[in-house]
Symmetry: C2
Subunit: 230 residues, 2 copies
Amino acid sequence: MSAPRTARERARAELTQAIKDAARRQLGEVGPRALSLRAVARELGMVSSAVYRYFAGIDDLLTALIIDSYNAVGEKAEHADAQAVAADASPTERWLAVCHAVRDWSIEHRHEFELLYGTPIPGYAAPQDTTVAAARMPMTLVGICNAAIENGATYPADRPTVEPSLIADNVAALVDDPSRAFSGRVILAWSGLIGVIGFELFGQYVGVISDYRAYFDYAARATAAELGLP
Amino acid sequence: MSAPRTARERARAELTQAIKDAARRQLGEVGPRALSLRAVARELGMVSSAVYRYFAGIDDLLTALIIDSYNAVGEKAEHADAQAVAADASPTERWLAVCHAVRDWSIEHRHEFELLYGTPIPGYAAPQDTTVAAARMPMTLVGICNAAIENGATYPADRPTVEPSLIADNVAALVDDPSRAFSGRVILAWSGLIGVIGFELFGQYVGVISDYRAYFDYAARATAAELGLP
DNA sequence: TCAGTTTCGAGAGCAGTGCTCTCGCTCATG
DNA sequence: CATGAGCGAGAGCACTGCTCTCGAAACTGA
């Protein structure tokens, strides 16, 4: 993140951002499938070929949006957790705060949610930048577990536990339980919560659930209880 | 399902099926985003405008594929459950059999999975036919719960339960528990399992989990245990 | 049997897409 | 101040979904 020196670098950074902003704005209207590089260029008063000076193609532009969106939802989660901590919330209360923050963001930015957790764009092989940004949200969930563990919480003894070797070492090292029972279950919780949000947004719950927010609250509570959070 | 009488009706039924088959074949290669109506027409040696005699547009063609895919995965689930029942399996064993059958199908038909559970296609408002087909898979999960309830299984008393009014009446009526504790949790289980499969297929688990199948097995076991299945 | 109607496939055409290439102009650096 | 890199504009290619027309084929009822 070095400050741009020359006027050209400055203009390049600004235009890159302007293209991303316009793309994100249009994404909110038409969805990832209908996002058009030419339309983005038109909105900025430039010709389509000029955009290729800044992004290798439409997929590259979408990847840039993905990284920003991961950071956006991660920041929301971190902020909600920090607020809960400041209010002396219990682990379960922190868990609920983060879950609802993620769901609120997803509903408000449903097309960005589609970009992150829906059908992946074909020519997209997650680069390192993406995984770092993608980890921010689940990492706040992990942090809540760690705080609970530090205060003496233990994983319920009567529940199935994951085979420790299944969890990648660098991931398991983030959680303070050698048995990796928490690690395995928090990954399942993360997948499940995104699954519930996806089902809500993608219409799978039509005719099944009447109050989405209330059901999500139940889902988050059940998940926290099944993790053994106090 | 009336048999076609005239030669024209016969040809129409056959061509409709041929178009769907070709589309499904191409879908397996290129994914939903790149599926092209013109390419499908080319493969069948017809001109693109002729396809419009059979499907209103590309979205309509995709919707037809969606219904067939829902039925395909539903049939897989039902068949796996029937086999487990024939082998005198316990509810948990039946649950695992169905879950793995769904995952196996999803991996084998990843682009169809994307069609069903990934980003929805824009001009698509699930018609009645779709919801019936979509319900087949989760209904087998519900059936396993019902069998367990009939044999005396009860929902674990120490877990959070869903507010009964949140579950649509027609859905709640399918499960034999007036408190709707099972209904609420089995919906969560369903969402979570599809979420895990989606995370695996969409690359969210890269660098997180080393053995996808084994982790899914853990996820299914944990879910069965949390439902209180014997 | 035979006119009239419907159904169908082919073709041309339109507006839009992603992407490539070339051509000058402008800015930055030697 | 000159050289080279970066840049925007424009033309062009191959492709997409979709509409329309037209002639041929298949079905219908008298």
